[in-house]
């Protein structure tokens, strides 16, 4: 295999997958590097068609797996059916200056195999947030810069949703939604009745609810709402990079996929004053090999992207590539998922549901949207779910117990619940750095993570409890209980920042096109580029930003400018 390409992409998750698609489709010889093994759709989804009763532990983890993986096992999807897609704690150590759950998926497709598939657009309120509220730095782009790219991505991904007409959560190019249930509809109406600026809408999700030629061309089928997406879907019913972007790129003949390739660093040429490639260590043989290209796209997942750049040291950049201002690795942020609320509703005892759907409802941010109204900055979105309650009496033993289990029935009561998705404020003190002594199995310094909640997050949690308790009470829900689940930072799996975009090279690492201010042929397009976090699940924005940046780089390359 030649080791010279037009473009090298680091990381074969959903961000890397998008740049791989764009470059290879437009005729550029592209190398896509992935540190983990290949996962090919659908043959490498070993549990995808297993029935619940076919699992030895019926979905549970063993006590040893929990003991060996305190971080990975904290993730809701790290269960018997999908554990093989998660990084095991002992295989890939990192330093926790403060508790941080770094949930990772090292394989082709990355975390796009096990993600939660919620895809909400950002709005202009989100991109204008830092400038308006005086935190982080101003985003160098606005919603209008990204709107067409959102559409571009949605058309390829397939997004099920309603057109809700909300300025706080712009509509996209949607496939039809699944039906809302009677309590979801009721709560939506009640909230509308009592609040002008609060909306309970269908949670837009990356599932195919109807076919289009583009999906047929991808070889994907309609989602059958199995709700076991974390195993990988043999039908291609939800979006992951394995069933879409990567085979799409490979079909062009221009894409070379190289799994088991741990990127050590980006190579910088002092004479040419630009990056010339990457140093790769084979994850199995540990043999080092350099690869060369005109342009390097880094999308190794937020914190690994930070790690690679910090480890890319040269005479010109002794503190990491492009790090003249010393801000590389700083201003890491995430989403605050600690607060939950649940209750019961007795309003529709005559109704139940049948079938299943892979999404629930969503309440876009309503706090501090149009003006600052609380003693904390920004706000939170929330999920909303409503399910018929089923009662099974498990008291006693013998025939009595058997009969009780066989008499299981719906009670007529509905369980309702919400969880908070809070924006956290990026701060210089929330950072990652390279360990000065410890290295991993490939000789790369371990990453130390020093990230925590702050007072703004605590105030936001209290506000969520108050506001949602009020909304629940007004809707007639009873037995309302709030809960702080104690989730550690990182457990949201929405870590962002460290290589933020901005207008000024003195205060940011990337320009409006995700191009490093100080090294123009290196682009960062995964979560590391994010200047702020907003409240929305970020993957759709990562993909739109990546597609935009890749096409910018392509135009520049065609002009011979990079």
């Amino acid at each position: 295999m030649t080791n010279t390409f037009d473009t090298i992409i680091v990381g074969a998750g959903m961000s890397g997958g998008w740049s791989a698609k764009e470059f290879s489709e437009q005729g550029f010889k592209t190398l896509l590097l992935e540190r983990g093994p290949n996962v090919e759709h659908p043959v490498d989804f070993p549990t995808t068609n297993m029935q619940p009763w076919e699992f030895k532990h019926r979905g549970q983890l063993t006590s040893k797996e929990i003991e060996d993986n305190p971080v990975a096992s904290s993730c809701y999807a790290f269960r018997e059916d999908a554990k093989h897609f998660f990084v095991k704690d002992k295989d890939h150590a990192y330093g926790q200056v403060k508790p941080f759950d770094w949930i990772r998926g090292y394989q082709v497709g990355g975390k796009s195999i096990m993600w939660a598939r919620q895809v909400q657009r950002w709005s202009h309120f989100d991109f204008e947030g830092p400038a308006r509220d005086g935190f982080a730095v101003d985003w160098p782009i606005r919603y209008n810069d990204l709107a067409d790219w959102y559409t571009y991505v949605e058309r390829f991904v397939g997004v099920s949703g309603n057109k809700d007409g909300l300025d706080v959560l712009p509509d996209g190019d949607f496939l039809k939604p699944w039906e809302s249930n009677v309590v979801e509809k009721y709560f939506s109406q009640e909230v509308k009745k009592y609040y002008k600026d609060r909306h309970v809408i269908y949670g837009r999700c990356a599932h195919l609810t109807e076919s289009r030629p583009i999906f047929i061309e991808q070889g994907r089928g309609i989602c059958m709402s199995r709700r076991i997406c974390q195993r990988g879907c043999s039908l291609g019913g939800y979006f992951n990079a394995n069933s879409t972007l990567i085979p799409w790129g490979l079909k062009t003949g221009n894409l070379t996929l190289k799994p088991n390739s741990v990127v050590h660093s980006i190579l910088y040429d002092e004479d040419q004053k630009k990056a010339i490639g990457v140093r790769v260590i084979d994850s199995n043989s540990k043999v080092s090999q350099d690869y060369f290209a005109k342009v390097v796209f880094v999308s190794a997942s937020t914190l690994n992207t930070n790690l690679i750049l910090l480890n890319s040291k040269s005479k010109r950049f002794p503190n990491g590539l492009g790090n003249d201002n010393g801000l590389l690795g700083k201003f890491i942020a995430f989403h605050n998922y600690r607060a939950t609320i649940n209750a019961e509703f007795e309003g529709f005892p005559q109704y139940t549901t049948e079938g299943a759907k892979p999404t629930s409802h969503y309440i876009p941010r309503f706090r501090n949207v149009y003006r600052q109204e609380t003693d904390f900055l920004r706000g939170y979105a929330a999920g909303f779910g409503a399910q018929p309650n089923r009662e099974t009496n498990k008291e006693g033993f013998g025939a009595e117990l058997s009969n009780q289990l066989l008499s299981t029935k719906e009670t007529g009561v509905w369980n309702v619940n919400s969880h908070m998705m809070g924006e956290t404020i990026p701060k210089e003190s929330n950072l990652v750095s390279l360990d000065q002594e410890k290295t991993d199995a490939w000789g790369i310094p371990l990453l130390n993570i020093d990230v925590d909640y702050d007072d703004n997050d605590e105030k936001m949690i209290q506000d969520f409890y108050e506001q949602f308790s009020e909304m629940y009470e007004k809707s007639g829900f009873v037995n309302i209980k709030t809960n702080d689940n104690g989730r550690r930072p990182g457990n949201d799996i929405h870590e962002m920042g460290g290589v933020r975009m901005g207008k000024n090279p003195k205060t940011s690492l990337l320009n409006a096109w995700n191009q490093m201010h100080e090294c123009k042929n290196v682009f960062v397009t995964d979560g590391a580029c994010m200047t702020s976090t907003s409240t929305q699940n970020p993957s759709l924005t990562f993909m739109a930003i990546t597609a935009r940046a890749a096409n910018y780089a392509i135009r520049q390359m065609k002009k011979g400018l990079i």
Partner: protein, 173 residues
């Protein structure tokens, strides 16, 4: 018999345990559990009897890939942490001692009424050694039953590929 042997072999594969079949007058299946080395085939039979008393279900009506006792023991072996597993084993030991002390015969040979009385005496004493043991058996027996194909489909409305969601369905009276 061939079918039974094949089934036992499958159980061995499913449980990850080591299956050894002793060819004698009575074929006694014995699966070794790495964390339960002292549980022999007779004790496995005893566990089966207790589980069936705790939750009597016709396995023909609610078939499962593995027998109840082997599912329960697999879960105890793999999913209980060391502390809970020791409690389980202590409870099992005390259970057997109590039987001998009180009845001077094996549990299996006791009258059904006596078996039920004995379990009833301890099942609600959840913190006692025997209570912990019995409640682990009960918990995993229920899990085994509730995840059987027939129960999931017929009683919990489970559909593997529903392909639809209806949110306002009138409850059938």
């Amino acid at each position: 018999m061939i079918r039974r042997r094949k089934a036992l072999k499958n159980i061995g594969l499913l449980t990850g345990g080591m299956l050894s079949i002793t060819y004698s007058c009575n074929i006694i299946p014995e699966i070794s559990y790495i964390n339960l080395p002292l549980i022999d085939s007779k004790q496995q039979e005893l566990i089966a009897v207790i589980c069936n008393l705790l939750l009597p279900i016709k396995s023909e009506t609610f078939p499962t890939p593995e027998s109840r006792e082997h599912f329960v023991l697999s879960m105890v072996n793999d999913c209980l942490d060391d502390k809970e597993r020791i409690k389980f084993l202590d409870g099992f030991k005390t259970f057997q001692i109590e039987i001998i002390k009180n009845k001077e015969r094996s549990f299996k040979d006791m009258f059904l009424e006596d078996q039920v009385d004995f379990i009833a005496k301890y099942i609600n004493e959840k913190k006692s050694e025997i209570g912990v043991f019995l409640n682990h058996l009960k918990h995993y027996s229920i899990l085994h039953f509730e995840t059987s194909e027939n129960y999931m489909k017929s009683y919990l409305k489970f559909e593997f590929m529903p392909g639809r969601y209806e949110g306002t369905v009138l409850v059938k009276s």
